[in-house]
């Protein structure tokens, strides 16, 4: 293990599980505590957001659907995504959100792409989906939806935020904006199988709340035996390694690779994260905001209060060892946010600007010389640079993580 090994991107040689590091990271335990404090506040807002979504969707499934009620539910869905996306940096180190032994909750919450025609009608197939198939599914309840999603790889994705998104917006065949499902889909006597669609929305919003509550419980402070209790108590290099692995994988594999570079390459208009609502740009903005929270050690809650202690942050840990590197990561994170937030001002963005955001599917069209694609490329470059810096952070902290470890999702 100690032979010279010179390769691009390879930054450290020791085995990750037992990194023999000169730096004992004695100042890391408060950072782990603060990370858990910030993440818990984000999950707390996420759970409240999902609960509010269910509340605002209630008129649709309780029989008082109107256009205003549908608009209200849609706004609540968008709002619920804000805190959730900010938790995504915690997705990639086999924690409460993605541990198969804890049910791989993430796959129930945020799975994508969606088997939309397993849920409801789609263009060209009026009778498709569980909602329109009372013969096979005489009742729609939690077990029906859970069972469909129970075995990843075998069945179809019919639960979570994107399922609810589809129930609220419908398919998006509108090049200039999101899908436009009618509220009458929830009015008995107007929309076919409206009663069953109501039930589906009722059940799937409740499942969302229940699944988030499970993750929330694992991060709740002062709860002996939950994940948080063990997370803050592990050896510092393991705990900090998890934080960096999660941040790095969200940055490189998930955001840059999967969510941006892939549709950038295929130019498939709907190969985007929130394709029914065109909420994709907001999703990405809050993913990056989450990275900033994780690095700076603070989070501005939905109600405006700020939690976390920046002096006990990953940033402060890095600053104590390599202040120049720390400054670079801070600037790169802010730059990525700035460059995503600049998308609506891109000259090729069409007249329809949604929620202050240029729809992602409009940005990726055209040629590489078009302003939209150049703006997307700029963000890709930002994210690659962040990932490279995070690998350097790992080295500065004596951890064995390499850029290539961030590539897989």
């Amino acid at each position: 293990m100690n032979k010279p090994f010179v390769l691009p991107l390879v930054l450290s040689l020791s085995s990750f599980a037992c990194a023999p590091t000169a730096d004992t990271l004695a100042d890391a335990p408060p950072v782990l505590e603060n990370y858990a404090t910030v993440l818990y506040a984000e999950y707390d807002d996420t759970l409240m957001g999902a609960t509010a979504l269910r509340t605002h969707a209630t008129p649709l499934f309780a029989g008082t659907a109107t256009q205003a009620a549908l608009d209200d539910a849609r706004a609540a869905w968008r709002a619920s995504r804000v805190p959730y996306q900010q938790t995504e940096y915690a997705r990639f180190y086999v924690g409460p959100i993605d541990d198969p032994d804890m049910g791989n909750v993430e796959s129930l919450l945020n799975s994508w792409p969606l088997d939309e025609n397993t849920i409801d009608y789609v263009m060209g197939s009026d009778g498709s989906g569980i909602i329109n198939d009372p013969t096979t599914y005489p009742t729609i309840d939690a077990s029906v939806i859970r069972d469909e999603n129970a075995t990843p790889g075998e069945k179809n994705i019919t639960a979570g935020y994107h399922a609810i998104e589809f129930l609220l917006w419908g398919q998006d065949f509108n090049p200039d904006g999101p899908g436009n499902r009618s509220y009458t889909d929830y009015v008995v006597g107007m929309g076919a199988n409206a009663d069953r669609r109501r039930t589906y929305l009722d059940v799937s919003t409740q499942l969302l709340v229940d699944d988030l509550a499970q993750v929330h419980a694992e991060w709740t402070p002062a709860t002996p035996g939950n994940y948080r209790a063990s997370f803050v108590a592990v050896a510092p290099h393991i705990g900090i390694g998890r934080i960096l692995l999660g941040m790095g994988k969200l940055t490189e594999g998930e955001l840059a690779g999967q969510r941006i570079h892939t549709p950038f390459t295929t130019k498939d208009q709907e190969d985007e994260h929130s394709c029914f609502s065109d909420n994709t740009v907001a999703d990405y903005t809050h993913d990056v905001q989450g990275l900033i929270n994780a690095y700076f050690g603070t989070y501005t809650r939905t109600d405006g209060t700020v939690v976390g202690d920046p002096t006990r942050s990953l940033s402060s840990l890095v600053h104590a060892r390599d202040p120049v590197l720390d400054m670079r990561v801070r600037m790169q994170l802010q730059q990525a946010l700035t460059d995503i937030e600049a998308w609506p001002t891109v000259s090729s963005c069409p007249s329809v600007v949604l929620q202050g955001m240029c729809p992602f599917d409009q940005l990726i069209a055209g040629t590489n010389a078009d302003p939209g694609r150049m703006a997307v490329q700029r963000v890709l470059n930002d994210l690659h640079a962040i990932a490279t810096s995070l690998a350097q952070v790992a080295t500065a902290l004596g951890l064995d993580l390499q850029s290539s470890d961030f590539q897989s999702m």
């Binding site: 994508w112 990843p152 790889g153 075998e154 570079h261 892939t262 709907e270 590539q407």
Partner: protein, 439 residues
């Protein structure tokens, strides 16, 4: 016997080896990729990892699942680009499938499909299309002993179908169960020159060492001719492109320019009538990116190469004759991808077919491969299987519960090596396994 060579540590060559030893060890890009190639790798990864969905869907690039299928994504069987396993009792197969054929050959000399179910049993169907049925495995244990008296037990499965949605199968149908193979390092094996592979072939055992080594010769859909087979448990695929397109159709139900038709037999009328996700469903661009991804997954570096027990195991591996088929190293030929070209690699396979005896036989010929011949599987990276996939089920149907059992199943041309292992002391057996775990 050749002394330890420092390059052995870099199993995938200087540009294609990863130092990662975590559960992501099989899913790393080759370090020698260019910036642009890393981007292509990421896109390929996306289509490898994510589910394909039922057509029509808004995500037009990603629809076309089924109508009949085994799994919804590559990664559901090749979890973290690793190896599949037999189902737990009571579960349906997921990362394992059953090949079907009837006596005779197709127009190109390959297996002849079962008329009602095709060449592969697909338990699942999209809404409105019945899956082909359900399977059941009954495991049978057979006791044995090492020369030192230590007892062991080997298991093998007998397959049955608990339901068949499209009527009975033809009475003389032949079955072969296969677990999904790991995906890393394949691009390197693809560019080992044909001459170098054939140099190890000895079809008539002219040197009387008990080991033949035959090349499979299979239909190449790209060239429209018969060429050397390299991939798959019986070396029945000539290229990663054809392998990938075949898996996309057979396992997931995605048509492509290589396989333009849906995978439905004449009696599967709902399957034939189901909506498609385009013609073809999988565009050439995405197919090419998937192939590139499979070509450029890095091989894990060896660990503990200087450990005395590992070095002892290395000697025993060669002395027992394991290396006669699990040929340790090759140098790759040319490639447009620099990370693949002219690399000194250590895959421990000759990519040739060997008769492995009756106990391992599936009795289902596949082109030139007989019912008892199997391709030598590569061993590189095998020591990280438990880390990545949380199991160590080996051999084509996952019957072996660990490396020792896999060795003990060797028969036919592998019998002498197997007997040598069985005759070893417990310490030597342990050293041999330690060596394999260092790969």
């Amino acid at each position: 016997m050749p002394a330890y060579d420092p390059s052995e540590e870099m199993a995938g060559g200087t540009l294609g080896t990863t130092r990662t030893t975590s559960q992501d060890a099989y899913t790393q890009p080759m370090p020698g990729l260019t910036f642009e190639q890393n981007g292509d790798f990421a896109v390929g990864n996306s289509f490898d990892a994510d589910d394909w969905v039922v057509a029509p869907a808004s995500t037009a690039s990603r629809d076309g699942l089924g109508p009949l299928y085994n799994a919804t994504s590559c990664s559901s069987c090749h979890s973290r680009d690793g190896r599949g396993q037999p189902p737990a009792p009571g579960d349906e197969m997921l990362s394992m499938l059953v090949r079907l054929s009837v006596p005779g050959m197709d127009e190109h000399g390959g297996p002849l499909n079962e008329p009602s179910y095709g060449g592969q049993f697909q338990p699942h169907g999209i809404p409105g299309v019945d899956g082909e049925g359900a399977t059941h495995l009954e495991w049978v244990e057979t006791p044995g002993t090492y020369a030192d008296g230590t007892a062991y037990s080997l298991r093998h499965a007998s397959l049955s179908f608990t339901s068949l949605a499209y009527g009975p199968m033809q009475a003389d149908t032949m079955f072969s169960m296969r677990v999904a193979s790991s995906q890393y390092g394949l691009g390197l094996l693809e560019v080992v020159s044909e001459a170098d592979i054939l140099a190890n072939a000895d079809p008539d055992d002219a040197d009387h060492d008990g080991i033949s080594g035959r090349a499979n010769q299979v239909w190449n859909q790209t060239t429209g001719s018969v060429t050397l087979g390299r991939f798959g448990w019986k070396a029945n695929q000539p290229s990663l492109r054809q392998q990938t397109a075949g898996a996309m159709l057979g396992d997931i139900g995605m048509s492509s320019s290589v396989n333009p038709d849906q995978n439905c037999t004449t009696v599967q009328t709902e399957c034939r009538a189901a909506p498609t996700g385009g013609a073809p469903e999988l565009t050439d661009m995405i197919l090419d990116l998937l192939v590139f991804y499979g070509q450029t997954l890095a091989v894990p570096a060896r660990r503990d190469v200087s450990d005395p027990t590992v070095l002892r195991g290395r000697t025993l591996f060669r002395d027992a004759g394991c290396a006669d088929c699990h040929v340790p190293s090759f140098t790759t030929g040319t490639s447009d991808t620099a990370a693949l070209a002219h690399q000194h690699i250590w895959p421990y396979t000759d990519l040739l077919l060997h008769d492995m005896g009756d106990d391992l036989a599936d009795h289902r010929p596949d082109y030139a491969a007989s019912g008892s011949e199997w391709r030598t599987p590569p061993l590189w990276g095998i020591g990280l299987l438990r880390t990545v996939n949380r199991h160590e089920y080996l051999l084509h149907d996952g019957r072996a519960r660990g490396l020792e059992e896999a060795i003990l199943w060797h028969g036919g041309e592998g019998e002498a090596a197997r007997d040598a292992f069985r005759a070893m002391s417990a310490a030597d057996r342990g050293a041999l396994v330690r060596f394999l775990r260092s790969l």
